[in-house]
C-alpha cells in the first residue's frame, strides 16, 4: 500500500460573475492537498470550505460526461480525471485554475459553449442514411468496419480540444477539431450516405480543415485519445479521394509537394509558393518578404536548386505508390 502524502499548494482561482463583475480577478487559496486527490476534489473543497458561491460544472465524476473540463496553468484537463500529484510534479506548488476559455466565462469555471455546439451541429453529426422503410435484413456493421472509426466515437464533447485550438481563438469561422473528428466519425460509418455533403462543409475556406495549423494541441489534450488531428488528415484525404477538392491555394499547396519531390526530391520552396498562389498573387502577397530574403541569401535560384541523389528511384516510387489524382 502506498502512503498518502500531503503538500501545501497555492491556487490562483479565476473568479468572475458576468452579471455583477466588470472584470475577472484571481483569488489566492492555500490548501493542504493529498496525493489521492484529483482536480475536481479541489474544486469541491473550494466551494464547500472556502466560498459557497464558487461555480463550476460537474456531473459524472467518471470522465464520461465531459462537463468538468477546465485549464490548470494553461493545460486543459478533465477535473475528475486529472491527478493533483501529476500537476504538482509538472508545474510545482503554485497552480492557476481557469475556465476553458476566459473570453467565454459566464461564472468562474463555467463558460458559454455555444460556439462549440453551433459548430458541432454544422457538420451534420448524425447518420444520413437512405434506409428502406421496410427492410428485410438488419444493417450489420462488422468489427473491422467499426474499427475504421479509429476511436472517433469516444468523443465526450468536453470541449478541451476546441478551446485548446489556437485557430478557434483567432478565426470565428473555423469549425474546430472536435467537430472535425465528429464529421470523420460519420463519414467513416458504413451506414452513412452523407459523406459528400459533409466533405463540402469541412472543405470550405476559412471554416474547413485547410485552416488547421497542425500544432497537435488537440491530440495532446484529448482525455479520450480521439486524436482529432489524425481525423483532420483523414478528412483532407477524403476530399481528394472523393474528387471534391476545389482548385485553390490550400489544395495546390498540398499537391505542390508531390510535384516538387518528383522533380527535385527536395521541395522547391519558391516554386511551391508560385504554384499555390499563382504568379501575380505571389508577387503581391510575398514579393516584399521575398526580396528581403533574397538580399540575405535565403532564396535559391532555379539553376541552383539542390537535387536528391538517386532521383530515378523517387520518380519510380511516386509513379507506383500514388493513390490519388488532382
Amino acid at each position: 500500500m502506498t502512503t498518502i502524502t500531503t503538500q501545501t499548494i497555492t491556487f490562483n482561482v479565476f473568479r468572475f460573475n458576468s452579471e455583477t463583475d466588470y472584470l475577472p480577478y484571481y483569488k489566492k487559496v492555500e490548501m493542504e492537498v493529498t496525493s489521492e486527490e484529483v482536480v475536481l476534489d479541489i474544486l469541491n473543497r473550494i466551494k464547500w470550505e472556502v466560498d459557497g458561491s464558487f461555480s463550476y460544472r460537474r456531473s459524472c465524476r467518471h470522465g464520461i460526461c465531459g462537463a468538468c473540463a477546465i485549464k490548470v496553468n494553461g493545460k486543459g484537463v478533465l477535473a475528475c480525471k486529472e491527478r493533483m500529484n501529476d500537476l504538482i510534479e509538472l508545474f510545482g506548488t503554485e497552480l492557476t485554475l481557469e475556465p476553458l476559455s476566459i473570453k467565454r466565462a459566464v461564472k468562474d469555471m463555467i463558460i458559454d459553449k455555444e460556439d462549440f455546439w453551433v459548430k458541432h451541429e454544422a457538420i451534420e453529426p448524425y447518420l444520413i442514411s437512405h434506409i428502406e422503410e421496410h427492410p428485410e435484413m438488419e444493417c450489420a456493421v462488422t468489427p473491422a468496419q467499426a474499427e475504421a472509426l479509429l476511436d472517433s466515437d469516444y468523443c465526450i464533447q468536453c470541449g478541451l480540444c476546441h478551446y485548446s485550438c489556437p485557430v478557434i481563438e483567432i478565426n470565428d469561422d473555423f469549425i474546430g477539431p472536435a467537430a472535425f473528428a465528429k464529421a470523420y466519425r460519420f463519414n467513416a460509418d458504413v451506414r452513412d450516405n452523407g459523406i459528400d455533403e459533409r466533405i463540402d462543409i469541412i472543405n470550405a475556406p476559412s471554416a474547413g480543415v485547410w485552416d488547421c495549423v497542425k500544432c497537435f494541441e488537440c491530440a495532446e489534450v484529448c482525455p479520450k485519445e480521439v486524436n482529432p488531428i489524425e481525423k483532420i488528415t483523414k478528412l483532407h484525404n477524403q476530399i481528394f479521394e472523393h474528387g471534391r477538392a476545389i482548385n485553390n491555394v490550400a489544395t495546390r499547396h498540398a499537391v505542390g509537394f508531390a510535384h516538387s519531390i518528383k522533380k527535385h526530391g527536395f521541395l522547391d520552396e519558391a516554386e511551391l509558393v508560385r504554384y499555390s498562389e499563382g504568379t501575380l498573387p505571389m508577387l503581391m502577397k510575398h514579393g516584399k518578404v521575398g526580396f528581403k530574403m533574397f538580399k540575405v541569401g535565403k532564396v535559391v535560384m532555379p539553376w541552383n536548386m539542390p537535387k536528391s541523389d538517386k532521383l530515378d528511384e523517387v520518380k519510380a516510387l511516386i509513379k507506383s505508390s500514388s493513390t490519388v489524382k488532382f
Binding site: W210, D211, L267, K285, M293
Partner: protein, 294 residues
Amino acid sequence: MEKKLTYALFTGCTAKESTPEQLMSTYAVADKLGIELVELSEATCCGASHLQDYDDFLSLVLNARNICYAESRGMTMVTICNTCQLNTAMTKHRLDSDPELKARVNEKLAEVGLEYKGTSKITHFLYALIDDFGLETIKEKVVTPLSQFNIAPFYGCHNIRPSELQNETHDSAENAYNPNSLDELIIALGGVNVDYEEKNKCCGFHAELQAPHTAAVLTGKALMGAMDANADWMVTPCPLCHLKLDTQYEHASHAVGRDVKMPVLHMQQMVGLALGCTPSELGLQHHVSKVNFV
C-alpha cells in the same frame, strides 16, 4: 577515449534553401564537438505535413525510403527540423506498429531494391546533443558563456507534440505543457532562460499560405510574448518556426497592432556562439531580423 558520435544527417529542404545558416551552424557545432555527420544525400522532402493530406500512402513510402538510407548506413538518423522529425518519427511509429502497412510499403520499396526494417533510431539534433553528448560535456566546452543575454526558447510544436510519440524518440522526457530541454541548454551555455506563455505554442507556419491572418497573429503573439518577457533574442530548434519569426515580422506586426521584431537564432547558432564559432561560420548574415548583438 570515447567512441566518436556519428549520425546520418537528414537535412530537410529549408537547410538547403531558405535557411542556409542552419546547415552551416549544424556543421560548425558538430565540428567543435567532434560529432560526425554523414549527409543522407538520397533523402527527399518529408512532405512537411502537407503531402500526407493529399496522399498519405505516398508520404509514408517516401519517408520510409529516407529512413532506409539511415538503416543501410547502420546509423541513427538525426533531423534538424521539427517537422522532418515529426513526419519521419510518425512514419517509423506507424510502420513498426502495423505489420500489414509495413508490408504494403515494403512491397513498393522492393521495386527499387529497398526494404524498411525499423532498425534506425530517429532523433532531433537538439536531443542528440542532450541525450548522447550531454549537457555537462557541452558546458565544459563553452568558451564564451552567454551570460549577458536573456534568451527566449521557442520549442516548436512538432518537437513536443504529440508527446507520446516524441518521448519514444528521445531519452530525456519532455512535457508538452512545460518543456525544458531548450531551457536547460540555454542554462548550460551560461545564458538566462526567459519564461513566457507562448514558448510551447504554434508559430502558424503551416497555415501561412491558406490562412495568412491566423498565421500572422500566432507569429505576432510569439514575438510579443518574448518581448514582454524582456528577452534579448529568441532561439528555436525548428527552421520553419525560424522562417516565420525571422522573416514575417511585418505581417505579424500588422496583425497584432504593435511593432514586433527581434533577432531569432537557430538552436545550433546559439550553441556555436557559446563554443566560440565565428558569426560567419554560423551564417548570422543570412537573417532578415538582423542579429545585432554579436
